[in-house]
Structure formats: C-alpha cells, structure tokens
Symmetry: C2
Subunit: 489 residues, 2 copies
C-alpha cells in the first residue's frame, strides 16, 4: 500500500470511531437510563482518548510527509487529514487535559450560577476557561488574531475580521428593521392546546416533505433538538410543547436541514475526511434555509396551514395570511434560542463581539455582564432583567465553545446567498412549496452544495453553490422584503 492508501485506510477507522462517539451522544440525550451517566462519562473518555491518540499518531505525520494524492479529491483528503493532524499535535497534552477537566466542571458551575442568578460565582470559573482557551489559541495560531484560531475549529478559512465586516454591515440595518416592525400592531399568535402525539405525527410528515431519508435516520424527542451522525445513519430529535406546535415543527425542519446535508453527501466520501458537513456555518446555512427561507415562506406555510387544520381542526387562525403572520411573528425577548428570524442575528452578533474582545484581551471577564447589558439595551431597546436572561443564558462559554457563536449568523448569511441563487434556479418555487413539494429546492441544494461534503473550504462551498462570494446583502434584502410585506411597512 502507498502512504496515501495507508492514510485513507487508517482515517476510515478513525472516522468510524468518531461516528460511534456521536452515536453515544445521541443515546445519552434520547435513550440512556438516567442512572448511567457516570459510567457513560468513563466510556466516552476512553473512546475520546482512542480518537485523540489516532488523530495525533506519529505514523499519520510520517505518511503525510510522503503521501501523494492521486487526484483533486485525494488532495482534498490530504488537506483535511493534515488539518486534523496539526490541530491534534499542536496543543500540548497537558493543556488539552486541563481544558477538558476545567470545562467539564465549569459547565456544572455555570448551571448553578444561572439558577442562582449569580454572575459573581461564575466570573472566576469563566476567567479560568478564557485563560486556557487563550493558551490553546496561542498554541494553534500561526498568525493573525488569537480568536481566529478558535473560529477555525468551526469555520476554517474564514477570519474574524471577515466575519466582523459582514456583521458590522448588517447590524444597523437589522436594528432599524426590528424597530420599524415592532412599531406596528402585532399579529395574532397561536393559542390553545395541540396534542403532542399529533404534533409528532405531523413532524414526521414534515421531515419527509423536506426529503429526510427515514431508511437512514429516525426521529426521536430530546430536550434540546439536534441532528447526529453522518453517512448512512443520521438521526434527528425534536421536542413538543402542548401550547407551541411551531417549536416542534420548525425544530424538526431545522434539524432535517442539518441531517439532509449529511445524508446527501456523496457516498464516495463515506467515512472519509470529506464525508461530513464542511463547517458549522455551512451546516447552519442548510438548517436555516430549510427552516426559514423555505419552511417559513408564505407559500409553504399555506400548505402547512392546511395540514394543521387537518390534524387539529379549527385552531383559531382565520386564513393562510394570518397563519403566515403568526409563524413569522416578531416579538421582544431576551433569549437567543427563542428569537425570531429577524432578531436572531442581533443576539449572535452581540456574543461574537464580546467573545472576540475577551479573546483579544480587550474585555475582562469581570466586565462581561456590564458590556452584555449595555449592548443588549442598545440593540433591543430594553434592559436585561436578570443574568439568566443575559450573559448566563448560554452554555457555550462554560464548555469552552469560543468561536462557535458567529457560525449561527454566518449560516444565515450563507442561506441568504443560497436562497437568492435558488430563486433564480427554480422560478416557480413558490408554486411547488404551496403544494408542500420541496423537492426542487432540496434537490438543487443537494446537487449544488450538499453532495460535496468537505471537498472545498466553507467559503468556497458557498461561493460555488451560490455563484457569489458570501455577502450579507441577499439576507438583508430578503428580510426587509419579507417583514415589510407581513407588517405592511
């Protein structure tokens, strides 16, 4: 076997073991008996140690030195294996161990601090996490900002300066649009109770309508919906709340976006470094375009309105226009995960600017709460009432996920670009969506983007599919047009 073939064979087993790790994560959130947590922790750590040893194995470095890619795809494989290998060997083992240990404890302390509304209790913990993540970034960084090295874990090939340029251009427009919308009379929202078993039945129908392949996946319930796995086994979860079926339906469509991406990657890439979604941002572009640009469109909600009437009878919404307004209702709120399509990005940009400043040393952890509250009031026009609605609301920082937040909004920006291209590609899209038929849209996304997996960089993946360098203008134009129509601006 050549060095290239050896690498690929070795990598296949590493990818397979990594899939197992993901499957255990799924099990933990859906099936695992509650008394099994401590044993599962030991099992996961043992598997993680195996994976880390494989990713940083000296023979991988040796094979990489001599391996010759047979073609362009082979070159992409080598590029991804090299990236993973360098990531694994650059961070000293002691630091990695310390980070794992500190973030594991920090998560519990964050949960307690949030329950107690006690920022002061969390400050020293977060200071430690920030210090360690800065050390990690120093170990990883070749040049540029420290923060860039962390962003690269989730969106490689994109700098924080590039992200900041996009976000800074979007922010005033979104603040302005939000103010104009909330100045108008609020549409009627959903009221009443909706049987949860019936919700799940309709959720499965929606999943199928968006092309989710049940032969290579399944739908279960979890507290926080997620998608898990790559290739031939990609499972999603959703949740139900008797009073809020939209949560169930749009969580489902969102996760189907993630899962369909994984399911539609070329089978040639199965269990290779290219056989997974290329980045968090591109992943989020798929979940968001499924959920928002398609799922919350006037055309598709018309179909969904009929489905809901079939499932639940008359539920107090007069017609499809009123239903569309209810689905897309803009409302004040502190919590990112509950935000509507318009305001969501403002929540994310706030976090991006703050965590970037923390990593650059421009903001100290002790000043985080004040900085958060100031920024929130500036963008949303009202004050944070308590830390659990403010800087303690998300788990991310406690577990060391710095550089992750911006990918949520990058995904929206990417989705905006893709949606513009899709509308050109499929001129009668609305006529299809109005019949609940997403196949032209999801088929185009599969062809233009999803099948390629990790072949190209995240940025190039979007550029190739959308035919443009990622830009915020399509998203802003789309939001302006959509909410102007709904709110009669």
């Amino acid at each position: 076997m050549t060095a290239f073939e050896r690498l690929m064979a070795y990598e296949r087993d590493t990818q397979a073991l990594s899939q197992i790790s993901g499957r255990l994560g799924w099990d933990q959130e859906t099936m695992m008996p509650r008394g099994a947590a401590s044993q599962r922790g030991i099992e996961m750590a043992a598997l993680e140690a195996v994976l880390h040893a494989r990713r940083s194995a000296p023979e991988v470095g040796e094979w990489l030195e001599t391996a010759q890619a047979p073609d362009e795809v082979g070159a992409a494989h080598l590029r991804e294996i090299r990236r993973s290998y360098e990531r694994a060997v650059k961070v000293p083992g002691d630091l990695a161990k310390k980070l794992a240990q500190v973030t594991s404890e920090a998560q519990g302390k964050w949960a307690q601090a949030r329950a107690d509304e006690d920022v002061a209790a969390f400050v020293p913990v977060l200071e430690e996490v920030v210090a360690l993540k800065r050390q990690e970034a120093e170990a990883l960084a070749a040049d540029g900002e420290l923060y860039d090295a962390l962003v690269a874990d989730y969106e490689h090939g994109t700098t924080s300066a590039e992200i900041a340029a996009i976000f800074d251009a979007m922010r005033p427009a979104l603040v302005d649009l939000r103010a104009r919308v909330l100045d108008r009379p609020a549409p009627r929202g959903l009221e009443g109770k909706f049987d949860e078993a019936v919700q799940m039945k309709l959720a499965r129908k929606l999943a199928r309508a968006f092309g989710y392949d049940m032969d290579h996946g399944r739908v279960d319930k979890a507290v926080h919906p997620f998608s898990s796995g790559s290739g031939l086994d990609v499972r999603i979860t959703t949740r139900t709340s008797e009073s809020d079926p939209f949560n169930c339906f749009y969580s489902t469509i969102h996760e189907v976006g993630h899962a369909a991406y994984e399911q539609n990657i070329s089978r040639d890439y199965l269990l290779t470094p290219l056989g997974r979604g290329v980045s968090m941002g591109v992943h989020e572009s798929q979940s968001r375009i499924y959920e928002n640009q398609l799922g919350r469109s006037r055309a598709f909600t018309g179909w969904l309105f009929d489905q809901m009437k079939d499932s639940f009878g008359d539920f107090g919404i007069a017609d499809a226009d009123a239903f569309y307004a209810a689905v897309n209702k803009v409302h004040n709120g502190y919590i990112r995960t509950e935000a509507d399509e318009l305001q969501y990005n403002l929540h994310v940009m706030l976090r991006f600017d703050l965590e970037r400043a923390l990593m650059q040393g421009d903001l100290e952890v002790k000043d985080l709460e004040a900085a958060w509250n100031d920024r929130f009031e500036a963008d949303f026009g009202y004050a944070v009432d308590k830390p659990s609605n403010g800087c303690l609301q998300d788990v991310h920082w406690s577990v060391g996920l710095f550089g992750y937040f911006p990918t949520y909004s990058l995904g929206n920006v990417y989705a905006g670009c893709l949606h513009e291209a899709l509308r050109q590609e499929v001129p009668d899209l609305d006529a299809q969506l109005a019949k609940g038929d997403t196949s032209a849209a999801t088929g185009w996304l599969g062809q233009a983007l999803q099948q390629h997996g990790g072949l190209r960089s995240p940025k190039d993946t979007i550029a190739e599919a959308a035919g443009m360098v990622p830009d915020h203008a399509p998203l802003l134009n789309y939001l302006e047009a959509k909410f102007s129509a709904i709110y009669d601006l």
Copy 2:
C-alpha cells in the same frame, strides 16, 4: 503507579470500550435505521480492532509479569486479565481474521440454506467453519480435548467430560418423564388475542416485580429478546405476539434474570474484569431461575393470573390451577427456542453431543444431518420433517459458536441447585411469590451469587452460593415433582 495499578487503569478503559461495543449491538437490534447496517459493520469492526489490540497489547504481558496483587480480589483481577490476554495472544492474527471473515459469510449462507431447506448447500460452509474452529482450539488448548478449549470461552474451568457426565445422567430421566407427561391429556392453552401495548405494560410491571432497576436500564422490543450491558446501564428487550402473551412475559422475566445479575454485581467491580457475569452458564442460571423456578411456579402464576385478568378481562382460563397448567403446558415441537421447561434440555444435549463429536473428529459434517435426525427421533419419538426444523434451525454453528450450547443446560442444572438452596433459605417463599413479591428470592440470589461477579470460577460461584458441587439431581427432582403434580402422574 505500580504495574498492578497500571494494569487496572488500562483494563478500565478496555472494559469501557467493550461496554460501548455492547451498546452498539443493542442499538443495532432496537433503534438503528435499516439502511445503516453496512456503515455500522465498519464501525463495529474498527472498535473490535481497537479492543483486540488492547487485549493483546505487549505492555499488558509485561505488566502481568511483574504485577503484585494487593489482596484476594486483586489476585482475581490478575487471573482474569491473564486469561483474557492469553486468549488474545494465543490465536494467530491471520487465523482470527480468517475466522471473522468466514463466519460472517457463513451466517448469510446458513440463512439461505435454511430458507431453501438445503443442507447440502450448507455442508461445505460448515466444514470450513469447523476446520477453522479446530485450528483455533488447537492454538488455545493446553491439554485435554480440543472442544474443551472452546467451551472455556463460555464456561471456563469446566471440562466437556464433566458436562457430559451431568448430561448423560439426566437424559434418560428426561426422556422418560417427557413420555409419561405426553401420555396424559393435554391441559388447555391460551386462546384469543391480547393487546400488545397492554402486554408491554404488564411486562414492565413484571420486570419491576423481579427487581429490575429501571434507573439503570430500559425495556424495548426486539425480534430476539436479549439483555445487554453491565454495571450502571443494563438494557433488556422483549417481544410481543398478539396470540401469545406468555412469550412476552417469560422472555421479559428471563432477560431480567440476566440483567439483574449484571446490575447487582458489586459496584466496587464496575468496569473491572470482575464487573460482568462470570460465565454464560451462571448467567443462564439466573435467567432460568427467574423465569422458571420462580416465574412459572404455582405460587407466582397465581399472582400473574390475577394480573392478566386485570389487564385483559376474562380470557377463557377458569382458575389459577388451570392457568398454572397452561403456563407449563408440555407440547411436541422441533424448535429448541420454543421448547418447554421439561424438553428444553433434550434439545441442548443433542447439540452438545453432536458439536463435541464434530470437534473431536468423531463426526463429519456431511453426516451431521443423519446424526441429528436419528438422535431427535430417539429422544422425542417422532421424525424431523425438514432441515429448518432440524440441523439448520440454529444460527450458532454458522457463526462459530461451538461450546456455547451446553451452557444453556448447565444454567438449568445450576438453577436447580440454587433453587434447592433458596427453598431452604426462604421457607415461606411461596407465600411471598403468591403476592407477586420476589424480593426475598432475588435478594438472596443477589447476596449469595450476583454481587460477586467474576470473583470466583463459574463452578465455584455456584458451589459457594448453593452450598453444593453443581449436580443434576436437584433439577431432575424439581422437574419430576412439578410435572407429576400438573399432569397427575
């Protein structure tokens, strides 16, 4: 760290990874989407390779050379680690690989041959498996019969000669008892339909009644019921058939016997070599005593009769005595897994004698069908009608499980011994079982046997708990008394 401590730390991770492998097996039978099988195969093989490398790692051999056990339990740990290490290094890698490959293909060919009722198609496949298993046994055997080396994988410390002595003594008595019972009028069996959701509800109640800990387990459905996992996460499966609720209930109790054994092993042994049931035979003793001596007793079936009336209303069985007879109805049949408590062991002994002869070279694969059919008619009094009811009925041989069959009946023999001791220990057992209370019985088994895990050899585990060297007399006496009463012999 001392060599002993290093070994124990290393072993903990090996056990943890082995638990993961078991969990994936569970997933495969209960949750996995059907299109995921090929990817799962690669994942399992990758994990199996990691496990094999760990079990046969040279450092394990080095640590074993110098490790000093601090106490008796430590000595048992070392004994078990040594046994596993020697098992792993004795079989040449090429042979192990060849066996995995051949048995994997043989299973498919067996299934096809069984569907086609075509023994001739299976003969060359089985010849290859037998030849490889003999090679494996030669690599493993220190002295004694080749077959003993295979039995040791499932019941270490027990020779096939010892097993043969027990089985040969039992066989004529069972053949005789069977003939006398089937000479009597058959009791009425169950008729009608029983809602499967209601069956599952009662199955969960039965699981709890037998002490199954739902905080560290869960009950799902699978085609073939099984128990999976050790320590804090031990899951069981059962099945339902509308016309046969006994299948669901007694499969559940049987698997609870296996699972309770794993759950009740001392937490001090968690993820150590002693933290799993010590052998297949001892495991089966627990599943069988739960299922038969307790679950099919006159006392417990009285309680179950009331439960079934509560669940299903009048279902055509007049009273608790008639219900007891229905639960324990003896009936002709070809299939081992469908056999009643009385005849089951005759099915097993047949397989034991034939596979022992195959391994010893006293029987050739081409003569297997005739040998099976002769023996079957001798013991059961009627001829095998087709291969799927004869020598093609079980998957075991195709996948190389030689030495496994006898543990089913050894388990029954052990259960007989334990039941005799239990009756002495808990004189009013029947009064408790009549109330559906198994706690004294399962509590005694937990104390006397289950908590010790792999501390002692299988034989000593039974001897310590039952206070006697394993012997067939208690089982025979129990069966004779039970069926004499039911059938008025």
